[in-house]
Homo-oligomer: 472 residues x 2
């Protein structure tokens, strides 16, 4: 990726999903870099969007010079770029769809609505009321002039998935359609199996569908920082793959570890399913020369984006219960209704965090700079590292100083199997250095915005209705 | 494991599956080593086999001094040890069952017979005729005086699996019930999904069943050397987990990698499923303090063991087709009927190998020295490293010199995505140093034995019937 400037101006047709290699090209026959070198001046491509160009050298046109790529606030994007979002009904999927549509992309979503069902099974609910999909789509069109396409599909239904991908021929595919809860996955064999089946077999089916119907598409897969665990040695948590300078020393000899996947150490069957998905995607890129970025995302928080804030009916879901919520969102909701903020054990557990707005910017920047044929790469999508105690203190301070609330912070025995005191040296450089990501959020601001949203009477009522499902 | 002598005489009740910790013990609350230290003199156990002993210190009785553990040719084994073999109808499962029964274990098998179905779907067949399970069991009883129990169960049927484990309360569980073919897994989305579902969800279900009904059982999981790939740097292929002396160097700093899983690099969705299974087992040991050895097995070859050779009807399956056979077995079968031995590309691909007999010895030695509570460990089950070309040459030489055959070795373009020239430095020390394994086979002897078996008229006929399914 180092060939791309942060604004992706210098990327060439080599990375463009609209380009097809011509002639008999066995991409797998040689290494990626060797092939690219050989390709320059030797191999020709055709542009599916501009067949009138005939055959040409893929390195001869850059995103800056190509009339199909247009500058946006997050780098150049293909005009009317066909982006498919799997899990479009979710917390991240919906605001991403709205944003991409605003940026001129043609957005196609799928979802099986399992998240809505699972939250309901738990007797929990989104604190912000979520409309049925058809109403969301209608509102997006009326208020934002965004026409978004949607089809209810379960990734386990291979036929439906294949048909939709064959029909849409997406240029980029964002895989958010996974069950995202660690405690849910540990609660029973049924839940664990459902998580693995949905996440692992679902992503497997997707890779076959891409191979058969959209092999040039870039695939962006949502993983989690939890795939790495937190090694007690304090070694850096690299971005998925060892960098070239990392070496292994053993019995007086030395080897580069560069290019090898770093060790994974998942902490629940949900996290296991994410690691398992990583291997599915890695294999598909290696074996079939598909292209993917695997996003190790920190814990996400926050509520509104400019698009979801345009109208209450455009809100994205906001879960706070122990299974489906995340910690900062939950703390603010608890403070809003005078429920104590709960810290497990010492509260010194460190994790990486990122706001919803920043996460969406990252994903769009990844879409804007597609991987090369056969490239599998990993980014750590994190802006800050906090301890749980810091978060509780920050929420309590803002609650008190700015909203006149008096939340209590309570510590309980830790029900989890985890080290409470541990180093956590997350490397998160690629998104900034190679994709031009700049954070547009801060913890304090985001907490303020969440307070404003959850202190609305209807939201407060919905928090109180599910008090039972909060940790105590 | 270093606490055990090679004959497992010095192992204590700490590792014994017949022992239960008494009182309120949260095994997960502290690290494994720390807990063991604390346990000595502090914690007490009860023996399910000898309740008359009352409560006692788990470190006070060794396998050598306990009357329940009896010396066998492969170390001490519990008298009438209840061993459950998942996939007992398979190539490895059946001879393991016969051997364990000979050693005085009470053997319980399950199988869903999917291997028989899949081989048939491919229009292939075992070169040695395999009787239906009931007849195999009857013959084993008549000829070897071995009463082996069996139940047809699919690991995806959680209720049946739970019930059987609750009923048997196995002291050791050997997980061979996985679909083992790389080319099968790559041939279609259906096959890949079936492989992942059977292998990954099947093993997940098993871990829950063990947690709920046999948490002290040791679990031996069959993996493959192919989980590691073959890094082109030539770094050692450690036994699954970095040893303490292995360090990471990066930007002038150094950290031990000891205890972390080594990078995996699977080469097909079958291999991916094995890596995914590794993470299921790893998680269950970490989270629930279950106990497991994960066996990274080399390519297996050979046919008879003393027990399967006792009578033709006791033979284990012997597959040679491109999907279900393995390379040495196939080469001998091809030579036996004058079909050329096929080498892909240069033939310099190196892999680790082990004979059926040696593999069974290894598994029994692992059963004999169970892991400690919470222990997840990995062994590389390999005796030799050969190139494909060496194997073809050896088979051709023995065919010519000893059996009067004249096999041709032919090279074809490599249809696989693999480096043909690569280093391959496999570490395989644990089984020898810590479990007392000694190889009782040699390549030449084993090839001779296979020739004798497949040159029988009935076997030759069965090879010729499936000529179409051999590589060409």
């Amino acid at each position: 990726m180092s060939h791309c400037s942060t604004q992706n101006n210098d990327c060439t047709c080599w990375s463009c999903p609209s380009v097809e290699f011509k002639g008999h090209v066995d991409l797998r026959a040689c290494g990626q870099a060797a092939f690219k070198k050989a390709a320059s001046g030797q191999l020709v491509v055709e542009c599916k969007r501009q067949p009138e160009l005939g055959y040409f050298d893929p390195m001869s046109i850059t995103f800056e010079t190509c009339p199909q790529w247009k500058k946006t606030e997050f780098g150049n994007l293909l005009q009317g770029m066909r982006v498919m979002i799997l899990g479009m009904d979710g917390y991240l999927g919906w605001p991403l769809a709205l944003k991409l549509a605003q940026l001129g992309c043609e957005v196609f979503g799928i979802d099986n609505f399992i998240r809505r069902k699972l939250v309901k099974e738990r007797d929990a609910q989104s604190v912000l009321d979520i409309l049925p999909m058809e109403e969301r789509l209608q509102l997006a069109e009326e208020r934002l002039n965004s026409k978004i396409h949607f089809k209810e599909i379960d990734l386990l239904d291979r036929t439906a998935l294949n048909n939709f991908i064959a029909e849409v021929k997406p240029e980029s595919i964002v895989q958010f359609a996974e069950i995202p809860s660690a405690p849910y996955s540990m609660a029973s064999a049924d839940n664990a199996a459902r998580t693995l089946e949905n996440n692992v077999i679902g992503t497997l089916n997707l890779m076959f569908a891409i191979r058969d119907h959209a092999p040039e598409a870039s695939m962006i897969k949502l993983g989690t920082m939890g795939e790495y665990g937190s090694p007690l040695t304090g070694r850096p948590l690299f971005e998925g793959i060892f960098p070239g300078e990392a070496t292994l020393q053993y019995k007086g000899e030395e080897w580069s570890l560069g290019g090898e996947l770093t060790p994974r150490d998942p902490v629940s069957f949900y996290h296991v399913s994410k690691v398992q998905g990583t291997f599915n995607v890695y294999e598909a890129c290696k074996y079939w020369w598909l292209r993917s970025y695997d996003v190790m995302q920190g814990v996400i928080y926050g509520t509104a984006t400019p698009e979801t804030a345009a109208e209450p009916g455009l809100a994205t879901r906001f879960d706070i219960d122990e299974w489906w919520g995340t910690v900062i969102n939950r703390f603010v909701a608890q403070a809003a209704v005078d429920v104590p903020l709960t810290i497990y054990g010492s509260g010194n557990q460190k994790r990486g965090y990122i706001t919803l707005k920043d996460a969406i910017q990252c994903i769009i920047r990844l879409i804007a700079t597609p991987p090369e044929p056969g490239q599998y790469d990993v980014v750590n999508q994190v802006t800050d590292v906090f301890t749980v105690r810091e978060l509780a203190n920050t929420v309590a301070r803002i609650a008190h100083d700015e909203f006149g609330l008096n939340p209590i912070i309570q510590r309980v025995e830790n029900p989890r199997v985890e080290a409470e005191e541990h180093p956590y040296d997350v490397i998160h450089e690629k998104l900034v250095n190679e994709f031009g990501f700049e954070s547009q959020s801060s913890l304090d601001d985001e907490i303020r915005q969440i307070f404003k949203a959850v202190l609305e009477p209807e939201a407060k009522a919905r928090i109180l209705e599910q008090k039972e499902s909060l940790p105590d």
